[in-house]
Each structure stands twice: as structure tokens, then as C-alpha cells.
Amino acid sequence: MELRSNEPTGPIETRWERHRFNMKLVNPANKRKFNVIVVGSGLAGGAAAATLGELGYNVQCFCYQDSPRRAHSIAAQGGINSAKNYQNDGDSVFRLFYDTIKGGDFRARESNVYRLAEVSVNIIDQCAAQGVPFAREYGGLLANRSFGGAQVSRTFYARGQTGQQLLLGAYQALARQIEAGTVEMHSRTEMLELIMIDGVAKGVVTRNLVTGEINPHLADCVVLATGGYGNVFYLSTNAKGCNVTAAWRAHRHGALFANPCYTQIHPTCIPVAGDYQSKLTLMSESLRNDGRVWVPKNVDDCTKDPSTIAESDRDYYLERRYPAFGNLVPRDIASRAAKAVCDEGRGVGPAVGDQRRGVYLDFADSIQRLGEDMIRERYGNLFEMYERITGENPYKVPMRIYPATHYTMGGLWVDYNLMTTVPGLFAGGEANFSDHGANRLGASALMQGLSDGYFVLPYTVGNYLAGVSPHQITEDHPEVRGAVEGVNERLNKLMSAPSPSRTVDSFHRELGQIIWDHCGMSRNADGLKGALARIPALREEFWQSVRVPGSGADLNQSLEKAGRVADLLELGELMCHDALNRDESAGCHFREEHRTDEGEAKRNDEEYSYAAAWEYTGDPSKPTLHKEQLTFENVTPSQRSYK
């Protein structure tokens, strides 16, 4: 299979403009004859559904939550980047493009990233027009803040709830189209299968999560905006419902899955407190501006009250190892350093299993220097949240933090039009692999979701539809019936394992532990090979002994989880295959065998300057690799250094 990116050539500054002109249009009178399915209602899905509805297409939108307003985009805190250059500090579309390519460690496609930077400007205009209450200066202008990986101030924000406000903007636009009758919304409805007719995506099979009904929905094309797969780790900052099922079903029908090993770990999360833990909570990285990270020098001190540990017995390991950046080194470096000290047995906090996984983030010096009031003014709400969750007062006792998974750069392979390798199947937002390469910069996830949803998919979907005729397929088509039967069979199988004895969560936890240990913050060939041996065995055991109580004919949350975990058990294995294949370190993918003399990630551009796109072969243990070579015409790959 040849992977064709279908990107325009020529000057990068005009590629999107020329491409838009070259795309075909659908006559306004014909738009209503086309049906478009959008799965997911977050920033990418909600924005795409609303905009496509506004253009006049018949849109059906699906989400598993009880309302489209609850998609997990809502949880993003920090902000959204845009090359507005409102601060007059030297920002430009090219600079945002450059920062994103470099931040992604030179593993993303230049054309897509440039377009992202270009439309970032329109996103802010669009959101402001919708009434998103972005932070303002006293003069009434929009305010900006700085974020990691950039030397300009280009991040727009709405307190610590930027994702919420942007999502509500998209949700309101969607609600307007639902009211206008152009979008039909299906909440509490989960896509469980893709319908393929003659090799083209023509619909989805869904389960109504309240009634258990299995229904086919037919359309002229399908857009997946179903988020990332971070829940493969079980513990992550994702919502509990986040899953890979929609993308994985598409993958099993021929959509290649790209760079699954690129998963991002956030360094400042509240550590695991016990084996009952269900999710991890992220704390803003801004805390590292005033907090000092340390662990005891001696393993014996790890169980002591931190206030009794003498200054000389503390190891401020980030300041020691990275004197120039200190506590402000980038996310991946801070995360790996925390893991290293905990692996040495110097972690703090409660032991979970046989290890203490936590490091101190200590504000004592800052409180002494600036006063408690100043610290409260800067971080008051974060300190409150920390205390609510841990029961400890961070003004008196050092915070404990540990890294956690929170974003996945990998996803369905898409071309410049955001179409997967399945004709008629598009993927937007975190569900695709498109823009962040091997590492995403802060405040860029919201930007990409809205870029895809508002400004890219509405054009490229139209271009695709202009080349096809409205479908004439009915629900009694053999492929449609077959897809529905397949879903029913799979659900029955999940509910009738031969020797049901283990809960779904117990399998999910075990999978998460394997992935975290061997395909998490750092990876090596031996560990990955071990994981590749264990995951198929766990999957086999799952299908033999998963215990799903209740029936499929009503709300059954165990059954929902079981289907999602079954797919994560296949995706997890692909992640390890990808991580083993990528015999270099790049961005968040840190192979212990490949580090610089200073211990940092070392790329191998000669051999690995490609996107790894995996094909499903029928056996999850034997995926086939396809490569999209990446070329850099506008930015020269260089080595990152933060010493």
C-alpha cells in the first residue's frame, strides 16, 4: 500500500489556500441530499457537526455521554495557541509552525502543521464571536499567557477552564443546528462498528446505551472525532469513558493506525494513592515556576515526615541535573527524571504495590521569599484542589506529584484532507495522528481540535462528497445486516465468557500496568518484548473469563466497559509493536538504548524520519508496517537541548 499524503506542493505559505481553491464544491441545493455521520462531540466533532450542518448537509452526530457538552475536551485547563501576535512580541504563523514542528521532534508532516498554524488565527475570531469569555485586559483587549516550548506569549485562555469554554462554544453552535434541524443528535449512543460497502465507509452501527438497541446508520461519509487512547494505561487524566473503540473498529476495516507509541506524559499530576485509584488528576504545570522538586537522598528517609529531613539530605535532582532550566525543564524530561528517582527507591508518599511513586514539589522557599499570600494569589485554586483530593495542606506540607498519561499523539493515519486510508472515512482531533509528531506542545490540543472541526473538515468533506452520488443503500443490504449481526455476536460473546470469573476493571488495570511499565515514560527492547508476550495472553484470558453481569437490553455500564477494554487489549499490543520498531528516541518516545551522552532522547533521522502506519492483518499480533517518509523543506531538524 502506498501512503499518499495528497498534500499540495510549492510554497508552504499558500498550500492551503491553493488547495481550497482546487477542491470541488457541492451545489447548495445538493448539500441536503448528502448525509454525514460525525462520531464524537468534543472540539473536533462538535465543531465539525455544527459547521457541516450550517453548510446544509444532513448531519447525524453521536456521543456516548448523556450530552454533547460533556466530551472530554471540557477538561483542558491551560489555553489555546494562536499566532495572532496581539502582544507584538514577534509571533507569526511561521513561528507557530516552526515551534510545533520542533516541539514534535521533527516527526510531523510540514503541510498539515503549517495549515494548523494558519487557521489558528481564525479559531480565536470564531470563538470570540460565539461569546467565549476569553480573559481580557483592562482595556478590553484579549489577554495572553506564555506556555512551554515557545518564546512568545500566544496562549488565549478562560481562567483555568479554557477547554470548557471552547467546548461550550462548539456545543452551543451544535445546539443551534439541532434546533434548526440540520443536525440530529444521538446522545448516550456508542459507535460499535463501521459499515463498509464496496471498500467505502458508508455508516456506523451503534448501541443505544439506555435501551441496548443496536442500529445501523447510513451516510455518504463518516467522520471520527473520538479522541485519544490514553485510557490504555487504565490510569490517566482522561475521562473514564474515553476509549479507542471507534478508531479501532475503523482500523480493523483497513484504516491504518499511525505512531501509536507516541503518548504524552504530564509531569505534574497527583500521585496514585491506592490500588482502588480510578483516575489521575492533573495539576497545572505553572506550579513548577515556584515549587522545587526533590526526593530524599537516602532511601531510609522516604517514609519520614519531610519537615524532619535536613536540607543536606535532600536531592533537588532537577536543579542538580539541569542547572540551566532547573525545575522548568520540558514535560518529558521532568517526567523521566521523576521515574528514575522512584525506580531507585527514593519515591515518597504511600506505597502502592511495592513502590512509592511520588516526588515532592515544595513551596516552602517561595512562601518564605514571597509570603503565603502571594503564593495563594498565584495558585490558590490549585492548592485547594490538591487539599480536597489528598487531605494535605500544601502551604504546610510539600505537595507530592508524579507523572501521568494525558494525551496521545498517535491515531488514525490521515492525508492532508484528514481522510484515512478508508475512502469516505475521516478522522479529526486527537483521534488522528496528524499534527503533533512525537510530542505535543501545551495549548495545542484545543487548537488542533477546533482547526480540524471548524476549518478543515467542512472543506475536505465537501470535496469528497462532490465526487460521489448520494447513497441508495438500505438497511437490508447484506453488508449492513452483516455489520449489525457482527455487533450482536460480539456483545453476546462478551456477556457469555466460558468461565466468567474476573471483572472488566481487573483486566483493564492489568493491561494498564503492563503498558505503563514497558511502554510508558521510557521503553527498552527487552521490556517491550516481554509486554508483547503478555498482552496476547491477557487478551485470551479476557475472552475466556471476563465477567459481565446483567443484560444487553438496558443500561449496562459493565458491558460498555468490556467492549472498550477488548479493543484496548488489541491497541496496547500495537503500541508495543510500534515502540519496538521505532529503534530511536523521539519526543515522548524514549528508548533507553538511544540517548545522548547527556542522557537525553536521541533521534535517528537517517532511518526513522517517517510516520509508522500500521495495517491490521486479521491477527492483532501480526500488524504490517507502512511508512510515510517525512520531508522537511522549511525547517531543518536539529537536536533539542535544555541543559
Binding site: G131, A175, R388, L555
Partner: protein, 260 residues
């Protein structure tokens, strides 16, 4: 850290049309570091292992922002801790031996789906009726062309912080969704971008609110106390002023809602 043994009385109801009732469960050996939902996870794992049906409850982000979770705990929506969603409530708020009564949101406009899960689609319909600004994609002027005083924008943000969980309805003796509706009316009504549709918005949204079967506001203020985001009842007063102004203004035929 000592563990807790609690007695739970949980509302179990198979479907909207079947009768529900409280079922007693012993939640033993619960650590104080668990969140309330993690405590229910533990109870559910034990129920599944013993062959019983687990308790259904809505939840998703578990960080207090998506608004999916919500249950009445010992008579208080989201439980005893102020400005805290159920998912952020931790078991250290309880004592060993406590009895804990857990119910779904109770309101005619929130029919029970199963156990603690209710149908809040009425909220979506209120937003659909007018809780938006007609800003077609691609038609926006430069974002800095419209200046908004910081204080005004901050106030809009205070209202926009609503997570749509429904605690205000559960807390209200009249099962009114006035705080929810007022939050959206005020968020958009405070922004310059929201002015052209302001009168019709408030008329349409209040009329949909009433059509869904939510009660009227009689100024109890329970909603503000229960709100996990601390949304002020002042927004209800603001909505009522807007409604009064809209009532004496001729309807705009172009944006007045024609469908019920």
C-alpha cells in the same frame, strides 16, 4: 489512616417505569483517600464478584468539570462538602460507622433512567431553544475588534462556569432549573456578541424551561448552596430583569422561535 465501615442505602431502580427503592449495602474497609465514586467502584466490584448487578451512576471526567456525575448524598446534592462535585468528594468527609443515603436527582423533568442515572436531556433542549449566538463559522470579525471591559467579561465567565450537572434542580423545592437557565442567559447576555438575540433568547429559553416541567423560582436560594461551581442566584434576578425587558419589547420576527 484508619479505614471506614459504612452502611449505604442506595436507590435502585431498574428502569424509568419500574418502582425503585433503597437497598442496603455494607461498604467495608473503605480508605479515607478514596473519592466517593471510587468507594462506589469498590462496592460495585464486590457486587459483580458476588454475582449481583452493580449500581449504575453517571460519571466521566472525575475532575469536577464535565458535569456528568451527581447524586443526592444524605439529602444534599453532591454531598456535604461545599463547592464540590460528587467525583471530587473524598471519603475523609465521612466517619466510621456513618449511614449514607444515596439518591438520584429527583425532578419530574429528570426522569430516572436506572438507579442513580437520570435523563437530563431537558437541559440540552433549553440550550437548543436559544442558548447560543448565531455566529456562522468563518464569518467572524477579528477577535480584538470587539472590546469587552474586563469586569464585564469576568462576570460573564462567572456565569459560563456552569457545568450543567443539575444539582440546582435537585436542591430546589420547586425543582426549578432557573439557576441553570439564568447562567446561560447571563453569560451570553453580558457579552456584546450576545446582544442582537438577547430578548428572544431569554423568552425562548424561559419558555422551554417551563415546557420541560421545571418549577418556578421562589427565591429559596438552595440552588446556589448546592452549586458545585458557586454560581450566584443574582443571575436569576438578572434573567428575570431581562425577561421583563424582553416582554415589553416587540418580538423580533426573524429570530423569534417558531417551533415549541
Amino acid at each position: 489512616m484508619s479505614n471506614l465501615n459504612l452502611t449505604l442505602h442506595v436507590w435502585r431502580q431498574n428502569s424509568p417505569h419500574e418502582k425503585g427503592g433503597f437497598v442496603r449495602y455494607e461498604a467495608t474497609d473503605i480508605t479515607t483517600h478514596m473519592s466517593f465514586l471510587e468507594m462506589l467502584d469498590v462496592v460495585n466490584e464486590r457486587l459483580i464478584e458476588s454475582g449481583e448487578l452493580p449500581i449504575s451512576f453517571d460519571h466521566d471526567c472525575r475532575e469536577g468539570i464535565c458535569g456528568a456525575c451527581g447524586m443526592v448524598i444524605n439529602g444534599a446534592p453532591h454531598g456535604p462538602q461545599k463547592a464540590t462535585t460528587t467525583c471530587q468528594l473524598h471519603m475523609r468527609q465521612f466517619k466510621d460507622g456513618d449511614e449514607v443515603w444515596i439518591e438520584p436527582w429527583r425532578a419530574g423533568a429528570f426522569p430516572v433512567v436506572k438507579d442513580l442515572v437520570v435523563d437530563r436531556s431537558s437541559f440540552d433542549r433549553i440550550i437548543q431553544s436559544g442558548g447560543h449566538i448565531g455566529a456562522r463559522t468563518g464569518s467572524a470579525p477579528d477577535a480584538n475588534e470587539i472590546l469587552i471591559p474586563k469586569g464585564q467579561c469576568d462576570e460573564a465567565m462567572d456565569a459560563a462556569a456552569c457545568i450543567g450537572c443539575g444539582a440546582c434542580v435537585a436542591a430546589c423545592p420547586n425543582a426549578s432549573a432557573s439557576l441553570f437557565t439564568a447562567a446561560k442567559v447571563s453569560h451570553l447576555g453580558l457579552m456584546p456578541q450576545g446582544q442582537p438575540e438577547r430578548n428572544d433568547r431569554v423568552r425562548n429559553m424561559v419558555s422551554q424551561h417551563d415546557a420541560e416541567g421545571f418549577g418556578s423560582c421562589t427565591n429559596h436560594g438552595e440552588c446556589e448552596t448546592a452549586c458545585p461551581k458557586g454560581i450566584s442566584v443574582n443571575f436569576i434576578a438578572r434573567m428575570n430583569r431581562d425577561l421583563l425587558k424582553a416582554a415589553i419589547t416587540a418580538p423580533n420576527e426573524l429570530t423569534e422561535r417558531t417551533k415549541p
